[in-house]
């Protein structure tokens, strides 16, 4: 049997029909991964690899099977995992190049806008306050947009209530990115996506703007519905 046969498995139909007996009914399905569970994710960060070799961890991992690297996983100095995830979410119909270009243009515009402020500033103190690195701005903006609770519909006695429940890290990150992208796609197309995204990211970095407002609206809803919180457990 070939190596790929050992590592991969046939698609199991159980994954699709799996319900967990959860009152909250968050259908957490098994991933659609074609790999067996024991196959590990690749480490493609050069610094991490060097650390592993130094500490001796690498020796232990020599014969552990590893998944194939994806096309966007690389050792470039410009590689950022969060940006990769974001680009994937921006992408439509598999046009990765266009998505990358859009996000990179947005980063460039962020730099342009911040540099304009920087060169206008007169004192060193003012200049020190201005953040110029677009990736730092992107990370902070996403942090500011991540909700802490989410609402889920729960049926009780014929009525469906929106019940506040805790949110996982991944879901929070997903919602932040999704809202960011939706706000940047406006109905009137005169201002294109990269420019809008740049404005939204800068606003979110300063804890203002539409996306942060959306998060705060969600939190307010959760607060008003706190009476139903016990419905989570029936």
């Amino acid at each position: 049997m070939s190596l790929s046969g050992v590592l991969r498995k046939l698609p199991s139909f159980n994954a699709i029909h799996c319900h967990l007996n959860f009152v909250g009914r968050i259908a957490r399905q098994q991933p659609y991964s074609m790999y067996q569970p024991f196959v590990k994710e690749p480490t493609y960060n050069i610094e991490k690899l060097e650390q592993l070799i130094e500490s001796g961890e690498a020796k232990k991992r020599e014969f552990v099977p590893v998944k194939a690297a994806r096309s966007d996983q690389n050792v470039s100095v410009f590689h950022d995992e969060l940006t990769s995830k974001f680009i994937n979410m921006v992408m439509e119909k598999g046009h990765k190049e266009i998505a990358t270009k859009l996000v990179e243009t947005a980063y460039m515009k962020i730099k342009q806008m911040q540099l304009a402020k920087y060169y206008k500033a007169t004192t060193d103190a003012e200049r020190a306050e201005i953040e110029l690195n677009p990736i730092v701005i992107f990370h902070k903006a996403l942090e500011n947009c991540k909700p802490v609770l989410q609402l889920t519909p729960i049926k009780r006695g014929g009525a469906t209530y929106q019940v506040p429940i805790p949110i996982t890290e991944n879901r929070a990150r997903f919602l932040a990115m999704k809202w960011m992208i939706l706000e940047s796609r406006e109905k009137e197309r005169k201002v294109h996506f990269p420019e809008r995204l740049a404005y939204e990211l800068l606003d979110a970095f300063n804890n203002t703007g539409k996306v942060v407002k959306r998060k705060q609206d969600l939190h307010k809803q959760c607060e008003t519905n706190r009476a139903y919180a016990h419905y989570r457990w029936g």
Binding site: I46, E104, K111, L115, P134
Partner: protein, 364 residues
Amino acid sequence: MPITETITDTFRTNELDPMNHRKDHDGRFYSISQSVKKQLFTGGGLPKEYKELSETLNGLSIMVRKPAIELITYLNKTNFDAPVTRYVLYGKTGSGKSISLAHILHYGSNAGMVLVHVPWVPNWVRFPKGCTPSVIHPNMYDHPIESVEWLRHFSTQNGLLMQKLELKTTETYTWSKREMTAAGSPLSELIDLGMNRAKYATDCVAALLGELKKAAVSKRCRVLVVIDGFNAFFSPRSKVQREDKSIVLPTEFVLTDAFLSLTRNDWTNGAIVVSVDASALPLELRESPLPRYQLGKQGFEHLDPFIPIEVPNYSEKEFHSQIDYYIERNWLQQPKARTDRGRAELSFTSGNHPLSLMKLVAPY
């Protein structure tokens, strides 16, 4: 950054006068003041992305590179009594030809030469704003709007110099039954007429170029001709169509005739610096960046003999200088990219190609 600041970085030079740029300035940036930039480049001359980047980075700084230094040395040593020498800058698209031409333009301005500058010829061939059949020349076409713009560009670049030189026309130009420019009238009158009357603007341009040629020969002024994308004059097609939808070739433009006559080596006391670029021609003709291929038979026979000057990719010194500049101006933000490993990666992925490097560094 104000120019009076003492510059200690090795990638910059204090020498702001292009006439003094020599081999040891290779790979160093010199800044061009806002007033000079406004005077020389308002009508074009700097590539669009480069211009935007210079505005973002708070000041236009041009890297002194070997092609420009070579040209400056030649121009400083030229025997202006001999027929004009033609220099052709060639190289891959995005290797820095337009910037080298901009550098030479600054040199010419400082050297007191009258600048005849065409920022980008394909604009006249591929995106004409309304060509009309010429009245004076049968079967040829005018560019009324572009000629007015060019005359404006010429007077911005040479305004002060023309006032000082006080050149006069040598022959009478009759525009119509009632309008004429008499011999001996100042050239500024000719330029003003062209700027105000779009109908006659193209012929004004042709007349102006003829007058400058004569003025140069009679030693009243020294002329520097700088043309970017010269091979577009010999392009096999243009966007101008006749009523029967047949395509008008660029050689049938009056402007082409005027500039080709100026770039012939039948006059003295001047210099002609021209660039040929693959992006100036249609897609099928972009196989090779070399002058003979880009100019075609007609263009080559027109320009032959010329001195070809290659504009190559960055050398290692120039590459590091460019990265230093980006870091100092806070354009290259990623901390990892500023390390040796980052520089090696940028050098490899861009292939030391100036335009590719600019595009790679832009988002980060």
